[in-house]
């Protein structure tokens, strides 16, 4: 079934929010709909771009807590036989 642009935009917003761990409650979904409405009624040529660039301003999206890749470097060297003798 062919989807309308509005459906595409709403789907994209919901996908992004859920991927970032935001729970799609009734309030959040209504807020998303408001943002989609604003995007569609804006003068801007691309409503999708309008909505996606404003997501972080409209929703409390937490940045993921990333684990440390590596501990601080404590530089040393591998020694060879002739260096030891």
């Amino acid at each position: 079934m062919v989807r309308s642009l509005a459906e595409h935009i709403l789907s994209r917003v919901c996908d992004y929010l859920s991927a970032m761990g935001v729970e799609l409650t009734r309030e959040i979904t209504l807020h998303a709909l408001t943002l989609v409405e604003a995007g569609l009624s804006s003068e801007q040529e691309d409503p999708l771009q309008f909505v996606m660039t404003r997501l972080h301003d409209h929703f409390a999206i937490q940045h993921p807590d990333l684990p440390t890749t590596a501990p601080p470097i404590t530089r040393g060297s591998m020694r060879f036989h002739h260096e030891n003798s």
Partner: protein, 714 residues
């Protein structure tokens, strides 16, 4: 800022203690005893061989046969006596001189632990198994209550961006799942210099000083938490020990081939490793994984130089582990093999083709050791003998092959040429050739006795230790051993010919491709035929010639020629999982873990991560790295910032192409450049989420989240 290199104090070598004098005396006595029995046995056998040959060694051909026979018999005899030593020691409750024999568990438990890094170098390995293994070990270690003393490092040398992006994603997922942030690290080298040993050296240069010990694992290694803790405690108890090697048992075998290897490892392994350890004592070797290493000592003495000899003996050392052990020995540290450290596992290659592929690398690596054995100064004689042992593991095959060629020539000469009654000039009386077939049968029987007696002693050991039930009961155990003997007899000539080729290729210094190991796939007919065709043709021709020459000689050739003729079907059949699984259900070739299970193994093999598994199916790791908001940030955190210039221009062009056509429009190298660039990852992520629904990225998003929505939550 340039980081200043930490300097070492003047090298301190541990002094010999009374304990060392004691084990060194025992080692000297045991090795002398081994030398005497092996040489005596080989001399008697060679005397028999001389008597069997028609001219009793009276010509060059027969002399060559006798010399080759002597060398090969010594080789078989060493294996036999190692098994005998192991059997005798196990009958008396194990070796009192082994590390665990000297330190009771109660004593070890009082010792405090030190900071230890568990390092796993990987190269294009299956993500599920590799990271599943890390997860199981981490959880097992957490259960001991000692996890705070350990950090895990995944050290990747993977080249393909789809592989290392998937590794980074799996690392992040594992950190989240285990709450292991700050204890589980990931590092990828963009330049994999000196292969695995270079990867470990790179780790040591960066973080070695932060850890007293380093436990080295392979991608398929698995070790129980309590074993890891005991290893650290043993190192704490013995400051002069530089490396402590465990004896890994094989697990998770599914194909026929792997199940036979696994069964043999469980049944015969304890005898042979106990025997080997009792002879090596503090001068054992390192097998490259499932071992603990004293970090500072290793950094002081374990540096590997490139070889400076001609041809094969020039460049990087392929098999680094034996060499590192010998260097530690030269530095005054001991290297111990402790077979009684349980819960140390690895996996067998699933097929004969994969097994031989691995042997090809090992053959070249071991032959390189000849240079070090002969010319490297200061090594202990025991480690030079370990090099010789490794070299002979592969050199025995071409020697056996030459022996067969010479005996064929001898048989042909007897049949086709007139008998020479005066082989020596100016001799008054004729020399009558004598043929004693009954002596030949006695000699062949005694060789078989040496080969198979240790196997039957292993069965006695299993029954004596009341372990028969773990292998399906006595009847199934005996049938399984017979099955293993049949399979190993079929494989021996195939291995002989393959190893002969590997040795020849190594001596000619042909280039080796460094590749990850296949750990799952079955062998296709086309691959098996291609691999085994040379052997089949040679054996077919040899068998036909033997039949034409002499019927008796033909029958003697059958045990070697037969398996080679049927090598391709043997290889395909043994690679099949179906027959292996059927035998497992019928409890043949059974090992204890299959009967009782094990929390550690269950954690790896029965617990799966549905998210990780299905994620790679719905979109490629590169697509995920761009689309998934969390993963994108993970990859960004691990990427670099470029400062402009020509490279930046190239990256800008790549990111545009990637945005228009998707990652598949880029070569592996181009994609690698792109996803290592932090700014490009961020730009592509933003652009993809704003892309029109009918564009490449619009469709990719739809596909990605369609899958995601039908998946159960991770």
């Amino acid at each position: 800022m340039k980081i200043r290199e930490a300097t070492f104090d003047k090298v301190q070598r541990p002094l010999a203690t009374p304990r060392q004098v004691s084990w060194r005396m025992a080692a000297g006595l045991r090795r002398a005893l081994l030398t005497v029995v092996v040489l005596a046995q080989s001399c008697v056998a060679s005397f028999y061989m001389t008597a069997i040959l028609p001219y009793h060694g009276g010509n060059m051909l027969e002399m060559a046969i006798i010399i080759l026979f002597f060398v090969l018999f010594v080789w078989i005899s060493v294996g036999f006596w190692i098994g005998m030593f192991g059997f005798i020691l196990r009958c008396f409750g194990g070796d009192r001189l082994s590390p665990l024999g000297r330190h009771p568990v109660a004593e070890l438990q009082t010792l405090p632990l030190s900071r230890t890094a568990v390092v796993m170098p990987i190269y294009h390995e299956p993500i599920q198994r590799t990271f599943g293994g890390i997860r199981a070990m981490y959880r097992s270690l957490a259960q001991t209550g000692q996890i705070d003393h350990f950090d895990f490092f995944i050290l990747s040398d993977s080249r393909h961006p789809d592989v290392w992006l998937a590794e980074q994603a799996a690392w992040h997922q594992l950190c989240q799942e285990l709450g292991a942030g700050g204890h589980l690290f990931y590092r990828r080298r963009s330049l994999n210099q000196n292969y695995k040993s270079g990867n470990i050296a790179d780790f040591l240069r960066r973080w070695g000083h932060g850890y007293e010990y380093m436990i080295v694992l392979d991608a398929d290694s698995l070790m129980g938490g309590s074993t890891l803790v005991t290893m650290v405690q043993l190192m704490q108890a013995e400051p002069q020990t530089g490396i402590l090697q465990t004896s890994p048992t094989l697990i998770n075998a599914r194909s026929m081939f792997a199940r036979v290897q696994q069964f043999a490892n469980h049944i015969y392994g304890p005898l042979f490793t106990t025997g080997l350890a009792s002879l090596q004592l503090g001068e054992a070797v390192y097998w490259g994984h499932n071992a603990i290493i004293r970090t500072r000592a290793f950094m002081q003495h374990g540096g590997l130089k490139r070889l400076t000899g001609p041809g094969l003996f020039h460049g990087s050392i392929f098999s680094h582990d034996f060499v590192e052990a010998s260097f530690m020995g030269r530095g005054g540290y001991e290297v111990w093999l402790e077979p009684d450290l349980a819960h140390s596992y690895e996996e067998s290659p699933p097929t004969l083709v994969d097994d031989l592929q691995r042997d090809k690398r090992w053959a070249k690596g071991n032959l390189q050791h000849l240079w070090l054995m002969l010319f490297e100064p200061g090594l202990r004689p025991a480690h030079r003998m370990a090099f010789l042992n490794g070299i002979m593991s592969y050199l025995a095959s071409p020697l056996w092959f030459i022996f067969l060629v010479l005996t064929t020539i001898e048989a042909a000469r007897l049949v086709l040429y007139p008998i020479n009654y005066f082989p020596e000039p100016h001799r008054l009386f004729p020399h009558w050739p004598e043929w004693n077939p009954e002596w030949a049968i006695v000699l062949a029987s005694s060789t078989l006795f040496l080969l198979f007696l240790p196997k039957f002693l292993s069965v006695i050991d299993v029954i004596r230790c009341r372990r028969a039930n773990q292998h399906g009961g006595i009847i199934r155990l005996l049938i399984s051993v017979l099955l293993e003997i049949v399979v190993s007899t079929l494989l021996a000539p195939i291995r002989m010919l393959a190893h002969s080729r590997f040795v020849l290729e190594a001596l000619l210094n042909t280039t080796l491709r460094w590749a990850g190991q296949n750990r799952t796939d079955e062998t296709r007919w086309s691959v098996a035929i291609l691999n085994q065709a040379p052997g089949t043709l040679i054996a077919g021709a040899w068998g036909a010639f033997a039949f034409w020459l002499d019927q008796m000689f033909f029958f003697w050739s059958l045990p070697v020629a037969g398996p080679l003729v049927f090598a391709a079907p043997t290889s395909v059949f043994l690679s099949r999982v179906g027959p292996g699984e059927r035998l497992r259900r019928w409890r043949f070739l059974q090992v204890p873990e299959e009967q009782h299970g094990s929390p550690l193994l269950d954690d790896v093999y029965t617990r799966t991560s549905p998210r990780l598994e299905t994620d790679t199916k719905r979109s490629s790791p590169a697509v995920q790295a761009i689309l998934d908001p969390v993963l994108n940030q993970v990859h960004q955190a691990m990427a670099h910032a470029h400062r402009g210039g020509k490279k930046q221009e190239m990256i800008l062009a790549l990111r545009e192409r990637c945005f228009q056509q998707g990652p598949h429009a880029l070569t592996q190298k181009e994609l690698s450049h792109l996803v290592r660039d932090r700014a490009s990852l961020q730009w592509l992520h933003e652009q993809a989420w704003q892309a029109a629904p009918d564009s490449y990225w619009g469709k990719a998003l739809e596909r990605h989240f369609q899958y995601r929505n039908i998946l159960p939550p991770a």
